[in-house]
Amino acid sequence: MSKDKTIANPSRRRFLVVGAAASGALIVGWRAASAQATLPYLGARIEPASLGAFVRIEKTGEAIIGARGCEIGQGVKTSLPMLIAEELDVDWNRVRVEQLPYGYIDTEKGPGLKYGDQGAGGSTSIPTAWKDLRQAGAVARWLLLVAASAKLNLPAGQLHTESGNVIAPDGTKLSYGELVDAASKLDPPTEPRALKKPEEFKVVGKPTPTVDAREIVTGQTQYGIDAYLAEALVAVVARSPWIDGEIASLDDAEARKVSGVKDVVRIAGPKPGDVFDGVLVNGVAVLATSTWAALKGREKLKIEWKPGPFADESTEALRKQADELLRPANADKSIVVRRDGDVDKARKTARKTIEARYSVPFLAHATMEPPAALIHVEKDKVLLVASLQDPDGASEVINAVTGVPRAKIEIRMTRAGGGFGRRLKNDYIAEAALIAKQTDKPVKLLWTRDDDLRHDFYRPFCVFQMAASLDRKNEISAWSARCAATPRNHRDKGMKDRPLWNGTLAPDDFPAGLVPNFDLSLLPLTSGQPRGWWRAPVSNATAFAVQSFIDEVAVALKQDPLALRLKLLGEPRELPYKGHGGPVFDTGRMAAVLNAAAERISWKRKLDKDRGLGIAGHFTFGGYAAHALEVSAIDGNVVVHRSVCAIDVGHVVNPLGLEAQVIGGTIDGLSTALNLGITLKDGKVQQSNFGDYPLLRMGQAPVDVEVVIVDSGKEPSGAGEMALPSALPALTNAIYAAAQVRIRELPIGDQLRKIL
């Protein structure tokens, strides 16, 4: 064991630490800055397991890189280690990637995270890692250089590294493995090391396949749902079909008679009206020795529910509520999100004002791997194995439910069978913990598909009333969007200090700042349904309304829809953007992706009869995407003949991964636009499985999605969400071009078949 040495990383308030493992390997990792006072530092022995180890170099020269993120299919288990490998200067082929567990650490100042941010949300993994993770690789490389310098008796400045070797001017090569011993005894640098310039990149920017591909295709990969513990009981839960519904009576006699059923326990949801920060609704859990027994037992439960205050809720009633609120007489109920100039005044002097109303439904996440968790709650410690997006939140809810200190809660994140924002809520973890508290056995909680679709945190239901006024020069003089929506900010502890519109609308979204008079406001609808983050939150709804409406304005003005967009964007410049993805919105980058998509699909060409081209672009979380689609809608059957997405997410870490995200985001958008919606009747969700929540199948999806990567070389933005929002309006705009039918309500469903 060597000395534990640290350097300050002033921007992140963490310290890089250097040490040696029992094997003699060099370890470079992090420790929370605030931990410094309480942890033995210089001169103390350290246990490798307590290090936030990102890099381990074995004496054999093998580099093991820790993947800190939650892998939900967005590729971070590959792309984050690539950033480290780049700075370390090792051959990617000789790197082994290992998933890191959740790295909670107690510090004097409160909870600390020894690996930094491990959550997956808002497409932040890459931009965060771009700033902080590369340094871990750079420090390890620096230590190896210094060790080589001593060994060769040459100044470090005369040495360089290449593919896991330090090379001297005379060609002498020392492999990293040979240098590990000496490097691990060195003091770390006192300042962050300089990082490579993009033109020096050898790993970053190269198409790199998924590190887990072989394990996945041979069925070896462990997802949360695949975790088993000896003695664990399988739990399935019968949940209240109504939010704030209560158990009026429970008869579990028949359920308990099912062979394999061991126990039936109640789990309590929040108090009526209280925040959804734990279990979502009241329920009854059946615990059994097998999944099949638990499912059979659940069927035998006789529960009478007291439906609670939302038993009358329906999608139809929500629509009426929205229609009523959107009447001009209710304008005073608007919550202003952004207001520039005077829309009313501009409207009075306008040559013409165009109006249209768009609506989008509640959406479920429908991750292929439904919520599940394996948890073992003991008196003074907890083990959780699960597919997560927010391990920090999982740690908090387990602590809240069990009282076990967070430092004693071990969380192992597995590869997750999709996320899409569903796993940013840890209700299923709270549920598992609450059940496990009532038995001395480990608990393996499983949600079935109907559990999943009926008890989700839905994308908000929104109705947008759009208006654009045209002045005498046919310029857009005023733009207003009044949105009647079930606000995302609802019974959410983490959002209580934010404005009500936060999570539903974004004040600086296009065309804010590009028209002189601009209004964006929220009219809150009342609904009991929980709402959550759904891939490309806010944008997944607003892009449809805005990018459809701009098309309608173009039609009214007899202008080309692409030309109108480009004209509005104007000269390339940066506009202030306050929300997530800011601080600026670059009109030039937006125009560039629109042009790139248009060029690829040959926007100006003459089309076959019955075909139409549609275009749309949107800025999401710092990334710019534009879709151009060619479709037909003969007899109402929508066929996407070509789909192009041009994307600018700044510097590209893994082009192969980016392409996958763009293909996936596009298909997700098309699937959602065509068929998906959660509806309510008698206070209950009506959908229950893939029969009535029909994700797009292969035969319905475009054969290919053509991806045009526009590399602006700007700071990377992440890429998991950007390619979804503009796919929906590009589709409906293309349908209009093909069949002159304007879709204003999603999903498209059988609307076209009824008309055409």
Binding site: G219, T291, A416, L656, I663, S671
Partner: protein, 183 residues
Amino acid sequence: MQTTPAHPAKPPAAPTASKADDEKAVALRINGRPYSFDGDDTMPLLWYLRDVLRLTGTKFGCGIGACGACTVLVDGKAQRACLMPMKALAKREVTTIEGLANGELHPVQQAWIEIDVPQCGYCQAGQIIAAADLLKRTPNPNDDDIGRISNLCRCGTYPRIRKAIKRAAEITKERAAHEGGKS
């Protein structure tokens, strides 16, 4: 770095065929090995594979045969394991994703890696089994043939699945040519 497996406990030893004489027991073969099942024979194969044998490569997605995440080969034909009760499996041969590779990766598995198909990967075992089934019936599938695979992918990997199936058809031919060349 701590390297702890996600599975804290070892799966139980696979039941042997010792109860094969039992009239009620269901004798079947899975990935070439004999098994005998004498539990509730209305239980779908999916839960036998997962809960009992810990062959967790076969996934639960919907429980109604709609998504195909649980697709396995039964007597060489793609079937939804979530709909197939154990009693229907007497004397049948089941191949799961874990048993698809025969010494070397199945051409479909190889192609899946080459084309980098998986995103989250959860549905891919079912997709691969469905593709293997398709290629057995239709060695040179066109886009319509491929489009009839009804397995769902929430990540939208369909375009790469299409490419990978075409690549797998090539690999199959390359291997056959190689074998032919050897003999």
